[in-house]
């Protein structure tokens, strides 16, 4: 065991910078265990207070459009087909056929084998590395469980990147994390990050899913957030959406506090993506408030904050129509994808 603790880890740039050149299981563990604790009652109270903000009129209109711009429109079903993905992409491009001023979503999020279909369906609307357009995000690394060998995870990731994925949503090995094998989790993230590398030397953006519903404690969430950032994650993401609880406001607040700390320490901005369980505009606005008041408004951009959601978009569209017309319509006035 002691020997293992001195095992050298993959020399991820951020970790080497912060912890030191001789990065080992032990030095990583010391760092993670030295993080300040989280008081659950206080964290939840703060999230409650942020969730109680009253966002009205012009602020609400701005927020609704912003939410759409930050959505990763998602389909992650065993029953997904090319047809389903095309339908999702059409919705991503034209969220509301009755109002063409409606902004487009940030990305569509699909399983790895659907990436090519998504890219084809997007056509010229695909960002393909540019600043405009819609990204394609692929879940990878034996999503959602993460229970596969490292070589399978790397292949899963690399194939999605080759197929044209702009973003990779990987899952961490929660079993390894909970049993204290932080180094293993770390090395896997570093390896997957390398698998995100394209032939031209650029990288697909890496979102690291912590699956906070399985990590259970806020202290674990804070450690896993740090670990993922140190290993090179561009984003930290709460959940797969396949485990309950998925995203919660306190967990997202905590992860925002971590990226805020990282920014103060290094000047580098890391993204946060709550995913799963955010279904209403009202809930999503609470997240916008939490972002703005915790790390600042500059985080409310697609490269720094995303919602992983499927049904959220239609609720936002209904709210948007209500603001425009002054009356509520019904579910038949927005399209199913």
């Amino acid at each position: 065991m002691t020997a293992m603790k001195h095992t050298a880890l993959a020399p991820a740039e951020r970790a080497v910078e912060l912890i030191g050149g001789d990065l080992t299981e032990k030095s990583l563990r010391l760092h993670l265990e030295g993080l300040p604790g989280v008081d659950a009652v206080g964290l939840e109270a703060r999230a409650g207070a942020l969730g109680a903000r009253s966002i009205k009129t012009t602020s609400k209109a701005w927020a609704l459009d912003k939410i759409i711009e930050l959505i990763d429109l998602t389909t992650l079903e065993g029953a997904d087909t090319p047809g389903k993905v095309r339908s999702l992409v059409a919705k991503a491009i034209t969220p509301d056929a009755s109002d063409l001023t409606t902004p487009r979503v940030a990305a569509v999020c699909v399983y790895g084998d659907m990436v090519a279909d998504a890219v084809a369906a997007l056509g010229s609307a695909h960002s393909a590395g540019g600043d405009d357009g819609i990204n394609v995000a692929a879940v990878a690394t034996a999503f959602p469980s993460g229970r596969a060998s490292l070589s399978v995870k790397i292949a899963d990731t690399a194939e999605a990147v080759v197929a044209g994925a702009d973003e990779i949503d990987m899952v961490i090995d929660r079993g390894a994390f909970l049993s204290g094998r932080y180094g293993l989790v770390f090395d896997q993230i570093v390896a997957v990050k390398e698998a995100c590398r394209r032939e031209d030397g650029s990288y697909a953006h890496l979102k690291v899913i912590l699956e906070t519903g399985e990590l259970t404690t806020y202290d674990n969430v804070r450690r896993a957030s740090w670990l993922s950032i140190l290993a090179g994650g561009d984003f930290i993401k709460t959940s797969t959406g396949k485990v309950t609880p998925a995203a919660t406001l306190p967990v997202t607040l905590l992860m925002l506090q971590v990226v805020g700390d990282w920014y103060r320490l290094t000047g580098e901005r890391i993204g946060v993506k709550p995913a799963g369980g955010i279904r209403t505009s009202k809930d999503a606005i609470k997240y916008l408030v939490t972002v703005a008041e915790t790390v600042g408004e500059q985080w409310l951009q697609p490269h720094l904050f995303r919602f992983g959601a499927s049904s959220l978009l239609n609720d936002v569209l209904l709210q948007r129509q209500k603001l425009r017309t002054g009356r509520y319509s019904g579910p038949d006035y927005v399209t199913i994808d």
């Binding site: 300040p36 008081d39 206080g42 009253s54 012009t58 701005w62 008041e293």
Partner: protein
């Protein structure tokens, strides 16, 4: 636009049904006062809200006479269960009219609507519910079988939590079988007068609760009235001391809840983000107009810079402004007089060499406002570390060891509350045990519950409010050989 400039979200005042002028509530009805009436104003705008009657000595006498009569003829004859019914009814009516009471409180006091809505008024209802339950269980108040009510209670309350302080005073007094004459503070009488309407709605027998308005003279006449059996006061230490002197030797039972200069102790292993929230809540809740406010931050020296930097960042997100806006975090200072005191002590702080800092924030041009302020480099000998400022001003001191933290925390003439922030349970328990303060919060601050006794050491007063202890303050034990009366006659 920037998102953080949230669009205005004001709570509507349309729910209020205020009168142009309010009389004194004596013997179940509003009557004219004999003193010169005064205006109560909104501290956020200085706009008058209503004209308020001013009780002179004769009015005080009328109120005490009504209370005595109600005690002798009605209230002391009721069973505990029946008294409880009235208290439950009052509690429910407070809940029914919660929004109206919250709006009135924020209008008259200047506190943010989110606090009056989510803290003050729910606690008012909770206090009446809690003591309603006690009314028929006085045998278990810790004073032996069938304890006796004291008689007429004279109660004088402050302006920082107008209706909540009223509830703290009236609920246990009535549960124990006393009748009451209560005087709210002259700057915040509004919710007490709406409460009087609630008492009418509840059909409380006339004279059981009398509410008289006025300034210091009225309060003085009330506590010094010869037919009063119990005096309960919450307010400044100076006035409390005067009351203690004037009631000495009169046989009146006395409880005092006075000032404070609480230490909020942050150890280096504290859950840092939550500690920052606790510091903010400790001193900027209710504009710092809180007797148990965590006005002295004691922070372990090795995390001082980290804590201050995070605290400043957090303060820059506080929203100061219209108390009725649902997004306001810090409202108006309650009065010009209080604002001047805060300004004066803050200037003293600068002169004494402490470093003053406030976030950039635009204050309204009318009304009474003071930006959230922190002083660093404060020494224990500075006046801002000794005197109660009673405003949104935090003094930051440092310590090196737990023993030093305890010594500095206790080095004050006050002793109302304290806070401890640490992830280590044994340290929390060890330190809490040595703090001379009536309430010690661990990893939280400014939490109140009707079941928990509240009160101070030293110059913070004596007696406890809340819980069984708060009930006992309105009861006396029967002599060991007194006959126990039959159930129906029990007070």
């Amino acid at each position: 636009m920037t998102f953080l400039e949230y669009a205005p979200a004001p709570e509507s005042t349309a729910i209020l049904n205020l009168r142009k002028s309010y009389g004194l509530f004596i013997d179940g009805a509003f009557v004219d006062g004999r003193g010169t009436p005064f205006q109560t104003i909104s501290p956020a705008t200085e706009v008058p809200i209503a004209e308020i009657a001013n009780a002179n000595g004769a009015d005080v006498d009328a109120a005490v006479t009504a209370a005595r009569r109600a005690y002798e003829r009605t209230w002391s004859k009721l069973s505990g269960a029946d008294r409880g019914k009235y208290l439950f009814r009052i509690a429910r009516l407070v809940q029914e009219r919660a929004r109206e009471l919250a709006v009135a409180e924020s209008l008259d006091n200047g506190k943010p609507i989110k606090e009056s809505r989510d803290v003050d008024i729910p606690l008012v209802a909770a206090w009446f519910f809690y003591y309603a339950g006690w009314a028929d269980k006085l045998d278990y108040a810790g004073l032996g079988p069938s304890p006796r009510a004291l008689g007429v209670a004279a109660q004088v309350i402050p302006w920082n939590f107008p209706l909540l302080m009223l509830a703290w005073k009236i609920a246990p007094a009535l549960a124990a079988g006393n009748t009451v004459v209560l005087k709210p503070a002259e700057t915040t009488p509004l919710t007490a007068l709406i409460f009087a309407e609630i008492l009418q709605q509840a059909d409380l027998p006339p004279g059981v609760v009398n509410i008289i308005t006025g300034a210091g003279d009225t309060g003085k006449a009330l506590v010094n009235h010869g037919d009063v059996n119990k005096v309960a006061f919450t307010g400044s230490t100076a006035v409390g001391r005067a009351i203690a002197k004037s009631t000495a030797g009169t046989g009146k039972k006395l409880t005092l809840e006075l000032g404070g200069k609480a230490a909020n102790i942050v150890f280096d292993d504290a859950p840092i983000d939550q500690a920052i929230e606790g510091i903010v809540n400790g001193i900027f809740f209710n504009q710092g107009h809180v007797c148990c406010a965590g006005s002295r931050l004691l922070v372990q020296e090795n995390v001082h810079d980290e804590v201050i930097s995070r605290l400043k960042h957090r303060l820059s997100t506080l929203r100061v402004g219209d108390p009725l806006d649902k997004n306001t975090d810090v409202g108006a200072i309650n009065s010009r007089q209080q604002l001047e005191r805060i300004q004066e002590l803050s200037e003293v702080g600068e002169q004494e060499g402490a470093e003053r800092w406030s976030p950039a924030c635009e204050l309204p041009t009318t009304g009474f406002w003071f930006a959230p302020t922190i002083f660093t480099n404060v020494s224990t000998s500075h006046r801002i570390a000794r005197e109660e400022i009673f405003g949104p001003v935090l003094s930051v001191l440092t310590f090196r060891t737990p023993a030093e933290a305890i010594a500095k925390a206790n080095n004050t003439p006050y002793g109302l509350s304290a806070g401890i922030w640490s992830d280590k349970g044994s340290r929390i328990l060890g330190v809490a045990d040595k703090l001379r303060a009536g309430v010690v919060w661990a990893n939280t601050f400014n939490q109140f519950d009707p079941a928990s006794p509240f009160g101070g050491y030293k110059e913070s007063g004596y007696g406890r409010e809340g819980g069984r202890h708060g009930l006992a303050a309105y009861l006396e034990a029967r002599g060991w050989n007194s006959p126990v009366p039959s159930e129906g006659a029990r007070a």
